[in-house]
């Protein structure tokens, strides 16, 4: 891994009686890092800290080499940051163009012409030029997510923090998203959270799996896939020893867990590795 652009060291955070993060430590470098984990694992809390909108109770963060607790350094981070929150709010009476223009002003772009050019550029990146003059309230949920993504791309930031950017996007839009985010990864740091293991497998150089406010796994997609090596097999029925099992489209049951001798082992996927790591918690969430 190249020199870290994000350093997170023993970070803790509590909200009242709830502990959101308990001693999170990991580094990330340029390229794309994916945060995986069930709801309530602490992903959003961590991403909000990386976006400088939330301070840790304890522990240390350095973003792009700066300390977000120091006002001048925080400003320097924000000047190079793009952030898409999990639930981006909009001024619904604004058009898509006006909303992104509004964020561009908050990003200190005061020259109208240059700002408008940049607004058009990011709208083009997310294929929304055709609806730029439509009110936000008239846009579909997927379009709004793309507006939120577009505002995060303003100014071509060096650090992109995206909280569930693919939620609500259709398959074509998700492919387009992958295309957009995978550009300029040689000198840009992207950290995103998602529930879509396919997105992580397709995009991320590094993966951090979180559970109950802690880092459960940190490594490459291949390393996460390897967690399930020799532990995925197909059978006619749900196997007794399987931790997780489901009937596939061709009728066979895909079992994950400790394989019995002579089991028909198959190549694991990244999702198998993830499910084995977070286990019952992920399965109960999927059933909900």
């Amino acid at each position: 891994m190249s020199a870290p652009t994000i350093e997170i060291d023993d970070v803790h955070k509590r909200f009242g009686h709830t502990t959101a993060l308990r001693g999170v430590t990991f580094d990330a470098a340029t390229g794309i890092t994916g945060l995986l984990g069930p709801n309530g694992a602490g992903k959003t809390t961590l991403l909000r800290m990386m976006a400088t909108v939330l301070a840790p109770d304890d522990g240390r963060l350095r973003l792009l080499g700066w300390d977000p607790r120091v006002a001048d350094e925080r400003l320097a981070i924000r000047r190079r940051l793009g952030y898409m929150p999990q639930e981006p709010g909009f001024h619904r009476s604004f058009t898509a163009f006006e909303f992104i223009d509004y964020v561009a002003i908050l990003k200190e772009m005061t020259d109208r012409r240059a700002r408008h050019d940049e607004v058009r550029r990011v709208l083009g990146v997310v294929d929304l030029e055709g609806v730029s003059d439509r009110k936000i309230k008239a846009l579909s949920g997927g379009m709004r997510r793309r507006v939120a993504l577009a505002q995060s791309m303003l100014g071509d930031p060096d650090l992109l923090v995206l909280d569930e950017p693919t939620a609500g996007l259709d398959p074509e839009q998700r492919l387009r998203f992958r295309e957009i985010v995978s550009e300029r990864t040689s000198d840009r740091t992207v950290v995103l959270s998602t529930h879509q293991t396919e997105d992580v497998a397709a995009l991320c150089q590094r993966i951090v799996v979180m559970l109950d406010g802690q880092v459960l796994f940190e490594g490459t997609p291949q390393e996460l896939t390897d967690v399930a090596e020799g532990r995925v097999w197909l059978a006619e029925q749900r196997a007794a020893g399987a931790r997780l099992s489901w009937r596939t489209a061709n009728g066979a049951h895909r079992n994950i867990g400790e394989a019995p001798p002579g089991a028909d082992l198959v190549a694991p996927t990244l999702e198998d590795g993830y499910l084995l790591l977070v286990g019952d918690r992920a399965l109960s969430e999927a059933a909900a």
Binding site: L54, G89, K107
Partner: protein, 287 residues
Amino acid sequence: MSAMWHADAEMLTSYADGEIADVHASSLEAHLLACERCRDRLAAVPASASASAPASQGSMDRIWAEVVDTIDAPNPGFVERTLIALRIPQHVARLLAATPSLRGSWLIAEAVALGFAVLAANTATGRSADLALFLFLVVAALLPVAGVAVAFGPGIDPAYEVGAAAPMRGDRLVLMRATAVLATSIVISAVAALAMPRLDAIAIAWLLPSLGLTLATLTLGTWLRPLVAAAAVSLSWIMLAAAAAVSTQDRLAVFRPAGQLACLVAIAASAVVLAHRHIAYQEGIAT
């Protein structure tokens, strides 16, 4: 559309040479958008000895980009157009247009609240006339406080989270919006005051309290969320006004000269504390 005036040759030459002041350039560009005759004359302006041909071409490109931008960018909404007409810079107008308490619906609600108070004051007689006047003054003084409470902050501003991660100073945005809300409320209250039965000093006795309460809310807002700060300030002041009325047997006691003096002191004290505490809005890190 016919133009009201035409640019003179000197102005067009300066513009083509890129030597015109920005403020005049903007004005001329706005005119050129509507005036074909001046566009043709500008196109015919020869490059001066000091200006190279590419510079002239650059000027034309600039005009064309301005034309495209003006046509392509959506027309701003009513609030934004009004602010721009009041000579507020366009980028500031856009930031203010996102203020919930500067929307038409909010302003109408303010006017309706004051309208009821004015109606009560005009129909009340005897002892109830003082009560109606008291009601009007209290409502007028508290309007900007309510407006400030819903002008910014988490849970109020839908794009707060995105804004908090942006480099623009939070205190600048807060003060900008609070000033706009205060100014708007003062205008609405002043218009309402003209409809009061007594057009004397007491009809504008809400002015200093409204300034003091707004500043107190902004100051307290450096510790608390704006909505909580506004509620605390409003309740405290209503209780103070009621206590003053009971103790002096004068319903309007808090609006009399002694009350106005107290407001001036509160304004000065709040301003001093706010000047020291405004950094809290700048922090932008929620906990």
